[in-house]
């Protein structure tokens, strides 16, 4: 799996993103453009994806040695496909972006407000999948909430039209889409589930375990570069976005800067991360997260936290500090 690229001795490492080239993927491009990967002798090519469930198999089959995906999806994947050679090695979204986005003018500004109102939810939506756990943590009576299944493309337009009072979705995406649709920003209430009792973790860097076992130093170098990329992006989001727009000329720079900033503030640069550095998980919280997952998902096998995350490849905490 180590391909020496011609004249340079760089190791080629394809990196599978979970989603398209949006603001929150700018830090990885920044890591390339600022030479962090090159410093670790890595030649990284980033590929967009169609969701976590696209990125995970890409890494599990070995097509990509490293990827980026939601750890909750990974847990389910490993439960359904025991022994698949994939695991998470670095937590990026300390708080998952799972959110309920409502409109104050339609009466939604806190979890309790959902009762008696219509909630739009795309069934395959990651945020919707956590909603039951969120509901039980907040003591919501599910029977009082009318859930309307909606499609991804129509989710925000339906809210903008007032067909539903709130939707489930990723905090940064739904918020910005609504703004684009002409909903006043102060009318939008973003209820981040992680702020209301949801203990789950969010997206993490995942690796093919076979690859990682064979190239531990490559993985560690990669993770250090990622941390550096995030650090740069937090310091100067606009510059990071420039790296992104270079890859996707059709992207709207202002919008993506905004999206990146939202992700940084709500999901990445949390208090815990600022204190301990990017990438680690807390074993106690992980146990709670697994328990919450079990509320919504029926495990085929007994959950085992060690299968899903390992800190074996994490670089020193000093290399992971965001400031």
């Amino acid at each position: 799996a180590t391909l020496a690229g011609g004249a340079s001795a760089e190791t080629s490492v394809p990196f599978a993103l979970d989603w398209k080239f949006e603001g929150p993927s700018a830090p990885y491009f920044a890591a390339i453009d600022n030479g962090h990967f090159a410093a670790a002798d890595l030649d990284v090519e980033i590929s967009p994806g169609r969701g976590s469930l696209d990125a995970i198999p890409k890494v599990a089959t070995g097509a990509f040695p490293i990827g980026f995906a939601d750890i909750n999806s990974l847990i389910k994947f490993l439960d359904q496909n025991p022994g698949a050679p994939v695991t998470a090695v670095m937590m990026i979204y300390d708080k998952p972006p799972f959110a309920v986005v409502g409109r104050k003018s339609l009466g939604v500004s806190a979890p309790k407000d959902l009762e008696g109102r219509v909630l739009g939810a795309p069934p395959p939506d990651g945020a919707w999948a956590q909603f039951p756990a969120f509901a039980s943590a907040n003591g919501l009576d599910m029977s009082k909430i009318t859930v309307e299944p909606v499609g991804f493309p129509t989710r925000e337009p339906m809210l903008a039209e007032g067909n539903v009072a709130a939707v489930t979705g990723f905090s940064f995406s739904s918020f910005l889409n609504l703004v684009r649709l002409g909903v006043p920003e102060d009318d939008i209430s973003t209820i981040l589930m992680a702020d209301y009792g949801l203990e789950l973790y969010g997206n993490a860097i995942i690796v093919n375990t076979d690859f990682a076992a064979a190239n531990p130093e490559v993985v560690t170098g990669f993770l250090a570069a990622v941390a550096a990329g995030w650090k740069d992006a937090i310091a100067d989001p606009a510059k990071a976005i420039e790296s992104l727009v270079e890859r996707n000329p059709a992207a709207d720079a202002a919008l993506e800067t905004r999206r990146l900033q939202l992700a940084i503030d709500a999901n990445v640069a949390t208090d815990a991360v600022m204190a301990n550095g990017l990438g680690g998980v807390d074993a106690a919280r992980m146990e709670k997260a697994l328990a919450q997952l079990a509320e919504t998902y029926e495990f085929q096998n007994a959950p085992d936290a060690s299968l899903y995350f390992t800190d074996a490849y994490l670089p020193d905490a000093s290399a992971r500090m965001l400031k």
Partner: protein, 253 residues
């Protein structure tokens, strides 16, 4: 003859299944790359009631959409077949419309008719499948041999009569060919709606559920169920064809 008509396709299906199993087995592909037929039975069995219920949802909407497509397609085909002007004017518009991926039309429809899930699904199945039918009818009409047309024209028959008595029967083999294509497209249309704008019904929804829980055998099982339903509908078309256009089949000797 009838036995053969059943055995040959069945044998083909079995051979195909075996080859598939072999391919997966030989490559040692994991489920999430490609599931093999033997993995699918448990999925089918576990969700057998849902398969029946959702399968029925998908089926009836597809059939209704297809019926609308047949009616509309035949009408449109007649207009284009009889009038060169309309053919010149409408063909490019239709081709343009059909070159637009229907997946992108789904949200527009869903937003236009919020909540009308059945209607929306039927609408997409219809929109995606009428074109081949219109094309085949229009070609059948515009290439109708003048000798045939003259037989009826000399009797003072109207264009509509010419269509019913000559053009339609003569063009039936092509029409049924187009219908076979339309059947497959209508299925795609129904599922597109069920997957892109989920509303908790139909096999598309089941596929989605499989995707959410990363249950790859279930996803493959849904696809196979779709294929089987397509085949089912195909045989309905074949039966109709036997009745209405059996004369057209030429034996080689």
């Amino acid at each position: 003859m009838t036995l053969r008509a059943v055995l040959v396709p069945l044998a083909a299906l079995v051979i195909f299944g075996l080859l598939w199993e072999l391919l997966v087995w030989a490559n040692g592909w994991p489920n999430y790359k490609m599931a093999s037929p033997s993995d699918l039975w448990p999925a089918f069995w576990k969700f057998r009631w849902l398969f029946l219920e959702y399968g029925w949802d998908t089926l009836w909407r597809t059939v209704v959409g297809l019926l609308v497509a047949v009616i509309f397609g035949v009408g449109l085909g007649m207009i284009m077949g009889f009038s060169r002007l309309m053919r010149d004017a409408l063909y490019p518009l239709l081709v343009g419309f059909n070159a637009i991926p229907k997946a992108t039309v789904v949200p527009i429809i869903a937003l236009l008719f919020v909540g009308q899930h059945d209607m929306n699904t039927i609408l997409i199945a219809f929109l995606i499948s009428f074109f081949p039918i219109a094309v085949s009818v229009s070609i059948g009409l515009s290439t109708l041999e003048p000798e045939y047309r003259d037989i009826l024209r000399s009797l003072g028959a109207s264009n509509l009569t010419i269509f019913w008595k000559i053009a339609l029967p003569k063009t039936l083999p092509e029409f049924f060919g187009a219908l076979k294509v339309a059947v497959t497209l209508a299925f795609i249309g129904t599922n597109l709606m069920e997957i892109v704008e989920p509303h908790g019904r139909g096999l598309g929804h089941l596929f989605d559920s499989g995707k959410i829980s990363a249950d790859y055998p279930l996803m493959f099982a849904v696809l196979i169920a779709l294929a089987l339903m397509g085949i089912l509908l195909y045989y309905v078309v074949v039966a109709l064809e036997k009745i209405f256009a059996g004369w057209a089949e030429r034996s080689p000797t």
